[in-house]
Structure formats: C-alpha cells, structure tokens
C-alpha cells in the first residue's frame, strides 16, 4: 500500500512557525519559508537554544551542519539542517558570524551527531565552535595549511607551488 508522498503543506509549516515563535520569542531573527523548508535565522549565541527548541518540537533527525563564505559581506554563515520524521518537515537554522572573529557555541549537547560536522566545518572554514570537547582535524592532512573552502583560497593546482612529495629530504 502506498501513501502518496506530499510536500509539507503550507498549513503544516505555518503551524511549526507559530510554535517556534512561541517558544523562542524575541530570539527569532527571521523565520521564513523557502521551497518546502523553513529557514530560521538566529544570532550566533542562540544557536544551541534554537536547536534545543526544535528538538522538543519533534525535529530529532540531525541532518548536517555546513558553512558558507560570503566574502563581500565579510561574514561566514553556519547552516544546521534538521528533520522531523513524524511531521515530515525540515528546518534550516542559519547563523552569521563576522569573518574576523568566527565563533559559535557548539550544539553537541543538543545533538550528539553534530560532533563530526562541526569538526569538518571548523577545518574547512575556520569557524570555531566554542565548547566542543575536541575540535581537531577530521578530513584534512596535518600539513594542509589554511582554510580551503574559503573563497579566497584558490585551487592551487592552477598555481605553482613546491613539490609536495618531498618527504625524504630535510
């Protein structure tokens, strides 16, 4: 038997919006609907609270955490995406941090799965997750320099640099 899959209806998303506003109050920077998902913008300090509120509303599935670099606006953005199995709805939580001092509190006490995602976002973008027990490299090698996913790091294959295979001399 099949139940036809349905995009989350507008009424469902409105219901969730009102519940979120009721619980978060003034912390909600912006809450809008975008192509079948809700986008919730909060201040960086309120990130764990917003995620905790969403978890109590049934959004138990932690999908991912990623970063976006906006060099013209001098800011970095942190995205968290959570999903609710029971209600079949999705929410993306966004926080903006300045490029000069990118610090965001960690969500590891809310969702245990954010551990690895935050490590990856730190090493690729340079966003420091304050309170993370062991923020260390996950994907990159020890000798890799810089934060590769930032827009000002060019793909260096197109730029000449010394041969990296020189493991044995000096």
């Amino acid at each position: 038997m099949s139940d036809a899959p349905a995009a989350p209806t507008k009424s469902l998303l409105d219901e969730i919006s009102s519940e979120v506003r009721a619980l978060l109050g003034d912390d909600v920077g912006d809450l809008s609907e975008n192509r079948e998902q809700l986008i919730l913008r909060v201040a960086p300090e309120k990130r764990p609270e917003a995620l905790a509120v969403l978890k109590t509303l049934g959004f138990e599935f932690y999908s991912f955490c990623g970063g976006v670099d906006w060099p013209e606006d001098e800011k970095l953005e942190v995205l968290d995406h959570v999903f609710s199995v029971a209600r079949r709805a999705r929410v993306t939580v966004k926080c903006e941090v300045p490029r000069s001092n990118p610090r965001v509190p960690t969500a590891i006490n809310v969702y245990a799965g954010s551990d690895w995602h935050e490590r990856e976002t730190w090493e690729l973008f340079g966003i420091v997750f304050v309170g993370h027990p062991r923020l260390r490299r996950l994907l990159l090698a020890d000798w890799q320099e810089g934060f590769p996913m930032r827009k000002d790091e060019a793909l260096r294959a197109r730029v000449e640099k010394p041969w990296p295979g020189d493991f044995f001399s000096g």
Partner: protein
C-alpha cells in the same frame, strides 16, 4: 638471490625462471577508490583473474610481487602507500590502475590529490580508464607478464 644479481643466467634457465615468475604473480590490492570495485570484479567468477596465474589476496605485503594501485592517491595516504611499497621484497612491480593513479584523474585540480602515483613509485604498466573495465586489467596483467618474460634479473637487481 645473492647469485642472481652477479651472474647473467643462460637462456634456457632464464626462460624457465621468468616463465615461472610471470605465471605465479601474487598481487597486493591497494584498492583505494572506485577502481577497487572493478579490480575486485576482475577476481570474481565472470572475469576470473586466476586463470592467468594471478592469485588475488596475499596475506601481507611481504609476500606480494605486484602492487596494483587502484584509485585516487590522496596526499594524506601517500606515506602509507610508500611504506607498503617498501615492505614488498624485490623483484616487485607496480600497476597503476585507473586515471586517478595515472595522473590525478578528474580531481587533478583538487588541493588534496596527488597527480599520479608515478611521482612517488616506479610504475610498470598504466591502465587507463575511469574506471577501466576488468578486461583492461587483464590486458594490463598480460603486458606485465610479457615484460617479465623479457627481463634480466641481473640488470634489475644490480642497480
């Protein structure tokens, strides 16, 4: 082996020794990425590399003759590849399987990928493709076997 790098063997003996070596290769799979799946498929019933005398799975690098580097050679992995290569005893050969280990492949401009394993190891046979068909690996093994047949161990070991 202490004799073979000083003395050039007479032709019948050299023929027999090389014939025995080429038909009893023991290949170490360095299956890193997608090409590992095609390399494994070449050992399975449809393409069956065993009929060429190549037995797929040695227990350790110390028992292997050929190393098939199949897949992308990421910079973080290169010290491990070199260490395993050094663990293999002479005479040893290397087959570079797939375009990632030939030259970097589709990720040639990535910040973490080595542009071919031949920057670090001496490669004997390059098998192109992304991924190459298992029949291409069989062709590569046959070319390696032709090479081994012509080889003189004195020249190889005395360098």
């Amino acid at each position: 082996m202490a004799l073979l790098d000083k003395v050039e063997l007479p032709k019948p003996l050299k023929f027999t020794l090389n014939w025995g070596r080429k038909y009893s290769l023991w290949t170490l799979q360095f299956g890193l990425a997608c090409c590992a799946i095609e390399m494994a498929a070449s050992m399975m019933p449809r393409h069956d590399i065993m009929r060429f005398g190549v037995i797929p799975l040695p227990a350790s690098p110390r028992q292997a003759d050929v190393m098939i580097v199949a897949g992308t050679c990421v910079d973080k992995m290169i010290p491990s590849i070199i260490r395993v290569w050094e663990q293999m005893p002479e005479p040893k050969y290397c087959i570079s399987f797939g375009s990632c280990s030939n030259s970097g492949g589709p990720y040639w401009d990535s910040y973490a990928v080595a542009k071919g394993i031949d920057q670090y190891l001496p490669v004997d046979v390059y098998v192109p493709g992304c991924p190459p068909r298992p029949e291409a690996l069989l062709d590569g093994i046959m070319k390696l076997q032709e090479r081994i047949q012509q080889e003189s161990l004195k020249e190889r070991l005395s360098v």
